[in-house]
């Protein structure tokens, strides 16, 4: 089932920059969708539009099958169910302590204070930030801030979580932690939308992909279909993931047979090789 559907969406900024041009996309529920594209392709604009921060100039936006009419009630419902983890945690973290930052969303949802405490502890545990509860946010490292910003969204228990460039500026350990978190969220049935330039990372975690170029959607489908389509990959200036290249080379050289279940990681390829 599609949780998000955009039909003929157009959006132009005040300075006449057309950020989104006739966008038609669908996002499947409980799946991970990556949004790929160059800088300035319209990814961040699309995210703010999905959260209802900006309103399209024309087109139809459906969430959970219902048309979003941008009334106050509708926006509240939309923002409750679609959380955004912004690229720069400094632009997201506002409160003076980690606890207050995580509690910010639930308090806006008017959840009683005794329940908020449990929610905050639970979501802080997910991203391993419980020990920083009373720490002023200025004293946190970039990775810690990133985890706090993710926690603050998890605390709102949204159906969809949008991650804007989540792996940017993170070290390998943090990236691995992030990967485990995605898997955990996916298992919980949360729809994940990720914008990234890290093709390897995208290939590893995504089920579906959307490719944007100059504000237009040039691909919306399964990630395996994306890399099977040379024209789209070239047009969107993407690179093939090393795992994908290696797998295809191994097939070409007849070292392994096509399993029709594309490996996503080096470990997957090792498993296939071990079975040869």
């Amino acid at each position: 089932m599609n949780i998000i559907e955009l039909k003929n969406i157009n959006f132009t900024y005040g300075d006449k920059t057309q950020a989104l041009k006739n966008i038609n996309i669908t996002i499947e529920e409980c799946k991970t969708t990556v949004i790929l594209g160059e800088n300035g392709a319209g990814k961040s604009t699309l995210f703010t539009l999905l959260n209802g921060i900006i309103k399209p100039n024309s087109g139809e936006y459906r969430f959970n099958g219902n048309i979003v009419n941008y009334s106050k009630k509708e926006l509240f419902y939309l923002r409750k169910n679609i959380g955004i983890v912004f690229q720069e945690p400094d632009n997201q973290i506002f409160s003076s302590s980690v606890y207050d930052e995580i509690a910010f969303g639930p308090r806006n949802l008017k959840i009683p204070e005794y329940e908020i405490d449990n929610i905050v502890k639970e979501s802080a545990k997910e991203t391993d930030v419980t020990e920083y509860f009373e720490k002023p946010v200025h004293f946190l490292s970039y990775g810690q801030k990133k985890r706090v910003s993710i926690s603050s969204i998890l605390a709102m228990k949204p159906k969809v979580i949008i991650f804007d460039e989540p792996s940017a500026c993170l070290d390998v350990v943090q990236k691995d932690k992030l990967y485990s978190l995605y898997k955990k969220l996916k298992n919980k049935g949360i729809t994940i939308i990720i914008s990234t330039h890290d093709i390897d990372f995208a290939y590893k975690i995504a089920d579906n992909a959307i490719v944007l170029k100059n504000g237009e959607c040039i691909f919306n489908g399964k990630i395996d279909d994306l890399f099977a389509n040379d024209k789209i990959v070239q047009k969107s200036c993407l690179k093939y993931p090393p795992v994908y290249i290696l797998y295809n080379e191994l097939i070409k050289k007849h070292i392994i047979k096509n399993t029709y279940c594309t490996p996503k990681t080096i470990e997957d390829i090792i498993t296939i090789l071990n079975n040869v």
């Binding site: 703010t48 959260n51 921060i53 509240f76 923002r79 409750k80 959380g83 955004i84 912004f86 720069e88 400094d90 632009n91 997201q92 506002f94 409160s95 003076s96 302590s97 606890y99 207050d100 509690a103 910010f104 969303g105 308090r107 806006n108 949802l109 204070e113 009373e134 720490k135 002023p136 200025h138 004293f139 603050s152 969204i153 709102m156």
Partner: protein, 258 residues
């Protein structure tokens, strides 16, 4: 020095002491500072606040003294203004001719008034420094909310506090980038760079503020900040009440008898 307030409050030995109690103590000292007219009683308040902040809380003394530099400049200017008076005849300790048979004079009374005003200002500042250097901002907002202080004031306090950091972070980034490209080599170059930094710090801060606002809106922000409520520890609060009563009593005694 930028994050000193947060650093000091986070590492304060009195951090976990009841916030309402500390606030009461701070306000009592502030009230004494405002009402006091005796130099000894004001010095007593100043010393008490310093004692609690530096010795009891463990605040770094050097950095604490440095925090007085900026208010000291304004206080000294104020004291000079109070001490100087214009008279039609020579009077006081020092008198200098001004114009049209008028003299700028410094009298004993004006010096005394200036000194009392300065100590009064410093004792009030030290009382406020006591609360901000020993307590996290979110705990202060929590107690203020419990004390039914108008919400607008708490919100303003919180927003101002937050945006001081936004502005100072932006300023630091710009100055660092200018310094890395020899932007402060020579007097004229420094003035030029400073002017550019000054003009762009507000524009960049404005852009950041709009991004922050987007992130708040994305989390159902309805225009009202909701702060955590701080619980009152009765035992510690009673401790603070007793200490406050002692301080105020000593202060009154000094005011009356010295």
């Amino acid at each position: 020095m930028k994050y000193f307030i947060e650093y000091a409050s986070y590492n304060s030995k009195l951090r976990n002491f009841d916030t309402a109690g500390k606030l009461l103590l701070s306000i009592s000292m502030l009230f004494c500072g405002i009402c006091g007219n005796n130099i000894f009683s004001l010095i007593f308040i100043l010393c008490t606040a310093i004692y609690f902040t530096v010795f009891k809380s463990g605040t770094d003394l050097i950095k604490y003294i440095k925090m007085y530099i900026s208010p000291a400049i304004f206080i000294i200017l104020g004291v000079i203004t109070i001490s100087l008076n214009i008279y039609t005849e020579r009077t006081g300790i020092i008198s200098l001719p001004f114009f049209a048979n008028k003299f700028i004079c410094i009298t004993e009374n004006s010096i005394k008034l200036g000194v009392i005003t300065a100590i009064k200002a410093f004792s009030c500042i030290s009382s406020m420094y006591f609360i901000i250097l020993t307590t996290d901002i979110y705990k202060i907002t929590g107690v203020l909310q419990k004390l039914k202080i108008p919400y607008l004031i708490i919100e303003l306090m919180f927003i101002i506090y937050h945006f001081i950091f936004v502005l100072s972070e932006r300023r630091d980034c710009i100055i660092l980038s200018q310094k890395s490209r020899l932007g402060y080599n020579g007097f004229m170059q420094s003035i030029n760079s400073f002017a550019k930094a000054f003009s762009s710090v507000f524009i960049l801060s404005f852009i950041r503020v709009s991004k922050i606002y987007n992130s708040l809106e994305a989390r159902c922000f309805d225009g009202n900040f909701k702060f955590s409520k701080t619980d009152i520890n009765k035992k510690e609060f009673i401790h603070s009440v007793i200490i406050s009563i002692i301080i105020v009593s000593i202060f009154i005694f000094m005011e009356v008898f010295l």
